[in-house]
């Protein structure tokens, strides 16, 4: 019992620490951390579908990229009918990945759907196809992608050229991360989350209990795509460009590494995994050069083999919902 409340307290303490960081860290570090948080949100989207529903997707960056490109296209006024407001871009960046995930999910899960290795290889191929198409499609900038995407505006300021300050962007990203964390945690704890866990553990048995597992799987896939799209939109607004590398195979596998290193079964662990790997990469990649990727690859292998729950998975594991706890 004490162990359980310790883990909940630690989860809360991490969010408090992340909020206090906005007062302590300098602007440059805050900018970096805010960008990593976009990756962190992306990692939570993957951890939700992988840890909770047991669906290993090698093409999650498709949805991150679609979100990023939607936000870029709207705020660059490339879709004149929709105007150029960030809000419209954000809505499009949530809707389009969801539609894509719904179509892909229906195709792959319907009937005697694909699972395990088949699903992994097929999503991997899908990511390569989408990346190749993005490189060829000149409307979205081809190889170069979309450049010069304007950063977040601060409409309440009177100056002509008013953008959010680094601290404000950081707080915005923190709020978005916390929101995603709370929503996904709520779903994980809800009866829906329990059904998803049942599908993960034994999908045939869950189907025999009368649950429509295709609907649950597609639903979880859409939700994780929506979160990934949100992450992509928030990322391009800070980074200023959307390139084919955001949509393809490379980023899809990178996010798998972050989630596996952090902890695939726990949302906050996956989020911290992304922050940790990216921060360490920021510090070490200059110093180690090519050896950094070698070290990352080996770290990845070691965590997968020795620590399937990831670095933070064990200490941040949330308690089971009340209805699933025993009498004691």
């Amino acid at each position: 019992m004490r162990w359980k409340s310790f883990r909940s307290a630690l989860t809360a303490a991490i969010w408090v620490a992340l909020s206090l960081a906005s007062l302590i860290l300098n602007e440059w570090s805050l900018t970096q951390l805010a960008q990593y948080m976009a990756y962190g949100i992306f990692a939570m989207g993957l951890a939700f579908i992988w840890g909770q529903a047991g669906i290993l997707s090698f093409g999650q960056a498709i949805f991150f990229g679609i979100g990023g490109y939607c936000m870029g296209l709207v705020t660059l006024r490339q879709l004149p009918l929709l105007g150029d407001s960030t809000l419209v871009g954000l809505i499009l960046a949530l809707v389009m990945p969801s539609i894509a995930a719904y179509v892909l999910g229906r195709l792959l899960f319907q009937g005697r759907g694909l699972a395990g290795a088949y699903f992994a290889i097929v999503t991997l191929c899908a990511a390569v196809i989408v990346e190749t198409l993005a490189q060829q499609w000149s409307f979205i900038g081809g190889f170069n992608g979309l450049l010069g995407i304007p950063p977040f505006l601060a409409p309440w300021r009177t100056e002509a050229d008013a953008y959010l300050t680094p601290t404000e962007i950081y707080l915005l990203m923190l709020a978005a991360s916390l929101l995603v964390f709370l929503v996904l945690s709520y779903i994980t704890w809800s009866p829906v989350g329990t059904v998803l866990a049942a599908i993960r553990d034994n999908d045939l048995r869950t189907a025999f209990f009368g649950y429509d597992i295709v609907r649950y799987k597609v639903g979880a896939f859409v939700l994780s795509a929506l979160v990934s799209g949100l992450a992509g939109a928030l990322f391009v607004k800070q980074f200023g460009f959307a390139a084919p590398s955001l949509i393809g195979f490379g980023l899809s596998t990178e996010v798998l590494i972050w989630v596996a290193v952090g902890g695939r079964n726990v949302l906050l662990a996956a989020f911290l995994g992304a922050l940790l790997v990216r921060s360490v990469e920021g510090v070490l990649s200059d110093r180690l050069g090519d050896y950094w990727l070698l070290a990352l690859g080996m770290l990845f292998v070691v965590t997968v083999v020795l620590m399937p729950t990831g670095l933070f998975g064990r200490i941040l594991m949330p308690p089971l919902p009340k209805r699933l706890r025993g009498e004691s």
């Binding site: 290795a117 290889i121 191929c125 190749t132 083999v305």
Partner: protein
């Protein structure tokens, strides 16, 4: 017209055979151990860099054909012992673990040889006349070599006692083990053989490809698609799958562009895998 068709046929055959070499190792590892070996493309890559190593050492190309399978068998043994052994019963972790190995191996190659592409001079330069067309002599050598090697692999699996035992383990591991077959030994040696085949394929293909650190994944995905399209668990399925994948690739890239070929082939493969989860040759269950 007949001229174009002949070239197309020879090119398809060439690619099919090379892909078959890579796929053979993969299908045996997947069938036997149920391990999705994502590092297989990097085994191919290392084989190709054995050729670069030999060239830098000033030795003849033909030594590389000897060196590559030996080096890769050792690499395969090490990988099996250090990583695969621990994740046999954790299917998803075996995908991730081998994926990490593939990242690390690729990075080792970049550190040792640099990120740029290396070109290998063809060891048998010059064209020959065949079937009324001129065709590079080395490509003909590749075809002959891979036919021999693929034939030898098939004979090994279907005509020797060891091959029978390996197929027995694939069909029913528990039964094979209780009949006194040392399944652990077979796991280890098949993984090494599979790695050696991929390395040999890489060495043989090096002179007609641009050898660069990213070439592994370009072979890994088609090889996996071949297995899934053709049907897992049988060597015949692998043969059918590679023929389907490589013929489509060659035809579309000749008629259109290489980029289009990739998109068409992957899309086709996804559709086939979706419709026939057991593969084209697989039994309907």
């Amino acid at each position: 017209m007949g001229f174009v068709v002949t070239i197309g046929l020879l090119d398809s055959l060439n690619f099919t055979l090379a892909l078959l070499l890579v796929t053979l190792g993969l299908v045996v590892i997947y069938g036997l151990m149920n391990v999705i070996n994502m590092a297989h493309g990097e085994f191919f890559l290392l084989g190709a860099y054995c050729v670069v190593l030999m060239r830098n050492a000033g030795l003849s190309f033909w030594w590389a054909l000897l060196l590559a399978p030996v080096v890769l068998a050792l690499v395969g043994l090490a990988v099996e012992e250090l990583v695969i052994r621990h994740v046999y019963r954790r299917f998803i972790d075996s995908i991730l673990g081998t994926w990490g190995i593939s990242l690390a191996l690729k990075q080792v190659v970049i550190i040792v040889f640099g990120p740029t592409a290396q070109s290998i001079v063809s060891p048998i330069p010059g064209p020959v006349q065949i079937l009324g067309v001129t065709y590079p002599a080395y490509r003909l050598f590749i075809m002959g070599f891979t036919i021999l090697l693929a034939g030898a692999t098939f004979l090994f699996f279907y005509r020797t006692y060891i091959g029978l035992a390996i197929r027995g383990v694939i069909a029913n591991r528990a039964m094979a083990a209780s009949l006194g077959i040392n399944t652990r030994l077979f796991d280890r040696s098949t993984f090494a053989i599979g790695a050696a085949l991929a390395g040999l394929a890489g060495a043989v293909m090096a002179p007609i490809m641009s050898v660069d650190p990213q070439m592994g994944v370009g072979f890994l995905i088609p090889a996996f698609l071949s297995i899934l399209v053709g049907g897992t668990g049988t060597l015949l399925g692998a043969l059918v799958g590679t023929a389907a994948i490589s013929a489509t690739t060659t035809i579309v890239s000749d008629a259109w562009t290489q980029v289009a070929a990739q998109v068409v082939v992957f899309t086709m493969a996804i559709v086939v895998i979706r419709l026939f989860p057991q593969g084209i040759t697989g039994r309907r269950t």
